[in-house]
Symmetry: C2
Subunit: 234 residues, 2 copies
Amino acid sequence: MHPSPSTCQQCAQRFNSVFCKAREEHVEVINDKKVCNIYKKGQQLFNEGANPFGVFCINDGKVKLSHQGDDGKEHIIRLLKAGDVLGYRALLSGDRYSASAVALEETQVCFIPKDVFIKVLQHDAGMAFEMMKVLSDELHRSEIKLTHLAQKPIRERLAETLLFIKETYGFEADGITLAVKLSREEIANLVGTATESTIRLLSEFKKDGMIELEGKKIQILKPKQLLATANLQD
Amino acid sequence: MHPSPSTCQQCAQRFNSVFCKAREEHVEVINDKKVCNIYKKGQQLFNEGANPFGVFCINDGKVKLSHQGDDGKEHIIRLLKAGDVLGYRALLSGDRYSASAVALEETQVCFIPKDVFIKVLQHDAGMAFEMMKVLSDELHRSEIKLTHLAQKPIRERLAETLLFIKETYGFEADGITLAVKLSREEIANLVGTATESTIRLLSEFKKDGMIELEGKKIQILKPKQLLATANLQD
DNA sequence: TTTGAAATATGACCTTTGTCATTTTTTGAT
DNA sequence: ATCAAAAAATGACAAAGGTCATATTTCAAA
């Protein structure tokens, strides 16, 4: 875990986030009103159904964002890392949270109160534009995922998910081990399938030599073959 | 088809769209630069892969927005009606179009050039905020759909889709006939399933007395029972 | 009206995926 | 290090849904 920055101005994520284009004066306002916090693995940042009071800005760590299906089954809709902001969707739509956010490991988060965030958005065209970009990108990702979920078999979606995890969190120092520990169930909830199917297919991928499994550690041995398995055109 | 308005200021959709909060002066600029057009049923407004040169604003009519799956199979991601704007996603992300837009019937559309739209967004906080709201709502819808696609059986998703079509386009004057004609294949591509499955389930719904089928005409006889079949919690 | 192509409908069948049961392994707490 | 609980792995089976073949209907053009 990196040391917590004392101010937003010094924050390592500043130019790596939606605030990258925010004017200096606005960053100051945000810095004055922010509240930082550390969440342990498994702790909730917010819960589906609750009223949003602001947005969260990840300084270090990893967070999953998930919906509760009608039958209580989790569906993970996003994986977040340092520099990512979350909780804006409900805030901007004026809704309650439609998803829950849970730390996947010890995570440093700054909380920015609703009125501060909104006011800055309304007075800083650069940041407002950046926010629209974030929303557009998220929407794009979500729509692509919709099409794949509707049209691709689980095998392809699992391969795609493993590559997505790699894109999001990267590797450990060894260059092949995924830098996040997810349970098989969580991977299944990311793919949109049953846990057993995920386990079975991971075993197959291992048998095919594409990956190595060691507890929750997953190593990507043959990224190209995995990419071919994912059968991506985009 | 309603008469085409001569100006944006007089447009029936003005306060029913993302421009509802735009300042008068900006509406004037848009009005000066807009180009209106009529698309016949089946005509394309834009095509996946093309570069966006602006946004489209529907004045009257109906449009479907769809992705091309890797195997060429269509997946409909949105249904649009008067007052809706489309083409903004690619524009804001700085991408090419990731979806194609096709008129479902004769449709009046105004085209607003990229630089005009962007400039207004940058100078009009009210409209920028409204745009973020539209994006957030779209994102929300998309994420809910993801969870349902991952977790719900086709029967429930088809019932949900029929209700969604009703919400979007409403009924004919008789109060029970869906005010849009979609092929079985299009409904399937909206649900995310095979055409045959959709046909089979529509027949079942008819047998159960929930709907009536007459060519492409679909009548909703028992909306409550359909809602129960959709099994929605949200 | 006729007619031919496209859309719809339906049956048979097969593949994929989910569910349940059981065993094995891992993990974390003592 | 030991142990209990949770997670992972695996097999057997069932169910859902897709595919293919074919019949029927609809609809628009001649």
